[in-house]
């Protein structure tokens, strides 16, 4: 059963009064709960938020399933989101994604690799087309101007040295 941490709970309480209506705080609270639950939003998370914010659970699940940045299935430590739309698609984003997935030993998108480190997903335009092909890990700033070699090296570095993760971004934003 997922329980919000004490710090998380008063973050949620403070968010409730920040906007004109408490509904507007759902997105930020979901970000916070997702980080506390290891990167994905489970039904328990939604239940916990529903009690903490006194908002009916279906409304929170509607928001959680509508937006792409909330994962409804477990993800690895590094959720690598490669952009494959229009310009990145032309500049080889899809081939890069296929190569990195083979390197990380993952067959399907959204699947967690055996060592629990990697999950790959194809995302839509991330708004950095001049530095195509590019990707985003979890909610970090973008990793840009990639080539196939750089992509493979990135996967190997993450597996061996581990990445510099400011993954607690939800504390800031």
């Amino acid at each position: 059963m997922f329980k919000l941490s004490a710090e998380g709970l008063n973050y949620v309480q403070s968010e409730l009064t920040r906007y004109e209506t408490k509904q507007s705080a759902i997105i930020r609270c979901l970000y916070r709960a997702q980080d506390e639950n290891g990167g994905w939003v489970s039904n328990d998370v939604i239940n916990a938020l529903s009690e903490a914010m006194a908002i009916p659970a279906p409304q929170i699940e509607e928001v959680a399933t509508f937006y792409t940045m909330f994962n409804r299935k477990p993800v690895g430590k590094y959720h690598i989101q490669v952009c494959c739309t229009l310009t990145c698609g032309m500049m080889g984003g899809r081939e890069l994604l296929a190569l990195m997935m083979k390197e990380a030993g993952v067959k399907e998108m959204g699947e967690v690799s055996k060592d629990g480190l990697f999950t790959f997903s194809k995302v839509e335009c991330l708004g950095s087309c001049d530095t195509a092909p590019m990707l985003q890990i979890n909610r970090e700033p973008y990793t840009e101007n990639l080539t196939f070699e750089k992509g493979l090296k990135l996967v190997q570095d993450l597996r061996t040295k581990g990445g510099k993760l400011e993954s607690q971004i939800s504390k800031e934003l």
Partner: protein, 530 residues
Amino acid sequence: MSTNTIPCTINGKDVEVKEGSTIIEAMKANGVEIAHYCWHPGLSVAGVCRMCMVEIEGNPRLQIACNTQVVKGMKINNTSDKVKDAVKWTLDFHLINHPLDCPICDQAGECGLQDQYMHYGKYEPEMAEAKVKKHKVVDLGPRVVLDSERCILCSRCVRFTDEVSKTNELGIFNRGDRADISTFPGKPLDNNYSMNTVDICPVGALTSKDFRFRQRAWLLKEHQTVCTGCSTGCSTKVFFNKEGLFRVKPVYNEQVNGHWMCDIGRDVYKFVNKEARLFDAKVSGKGTGAGNGLGAEWILPKRAALKVGETLRANKGKGVALVLTGQHTVEEYDALLGFFKNDLGSDRVFHWVNTVGGGPESLEAFDGLLLRGDRNPNTAGLKESLQKFGIKTQWKELLEGLASGAITTVVVAGPENQTFFPDFKAKVVELSKAPRLIWLTAGKNLDLDNLTGDVTLIPLKSYLEKSGTFVNHAGLRQKIAKGLTIVPNALSLTEVAELFAGREIEAAESCSSIGVGRVQNEATTVRGSL
């Protein structure tokens, strides 16, 4: 809302429309046919199905009728080719991911997609790609089943649970054409108005578990009546055919229930079906000419009533008591009380008050929308009649009379819908202490059957087989009419009063009798309209 009207032209016809109403309301008011799925008079405007497209002069783009207000002198047209083509294509977009399971869908025959397809359809489908697969037969709650593939995401049910039942159980999850209606795991669709979502669902996505696969919509006839589930008196229509009754749906009634109806009222047809009814009068007990040795004799209700009438009138109604419930019509009360008061001169009439769970205060219970604690349709009517005949009695007087032997005969006009009388068994035991018991009942009952002693059971008509008036809690008098006959020989209380008084009753006027002999299949004889 000022009530002055605005002139405008719909399909070339000049009409006057209430100020501030949208085009679709104007068209509905003037009986103009317009295709629509997500708009519902009782809900907010969603404007998502895009079927109610109309062409407005001076506006190049087609506008949706459900959200566009009528302006003075507006020329609206929804029969032009541009509109027909738009609706045809929008309907095609509805159908490209729709599963072809009309054979197993309960909504077939009354489905919005089928009707519009026959009216606007493209008939040659051009979609050759794979359809989006979603989950079927989803258990949404105790009374509703969902089929996401049939759902056209018109959000009527979601708006219903947000605006009318205010229980927020349903939501549309995911995005784009992967979206589907669902409840949150652990919070099923389980409020007292959940079956309304089945009525307002224009397609077969939400179907009722009670009616699942039991009959086809086009083989059913309907009869408008008043629900006897509680004292609100909602207008409903009952669906039946020669095998019996199958379901109840609400009818729009501005004063009482609007467009809705509660789930308890949905089962109010079950006690009227053949299997729950008493067909013949049963006279049992010693010394009443019950000669067949079994101690009980099944005779025609008319003859049983006449015999009882003679004995009552013979000893001038001495020691006779009458028990009434709020389940019958005003006319029946007047007739029976008239007989007891005038012919027998006895004013020992008692009101059997049924409280479903909880004490007398549960009678005043009200769930905020429609359901009231008093589960009888005509308690107000009964009180009115008792007052008219000047009868002020307490239930304990009956008990004392029984105990002291002052009351020798008890005539009970039993409840039709026994499910709302939890104290039925106790009352049967209590009243059977009387030396002679005459129980008028519409439904069979095990306790009544195995009563020994001098008991006469006379079958009564149910509320669907007789006409009369109900008075709801607010004093609104609502008429019910005779729609069908399930037990041909049953009597209404008026007829019982006539027979008690010794007068003959004329033959029941003919009506399509149910459950007796072969009735031509209406669906085929009116083939033209199939």
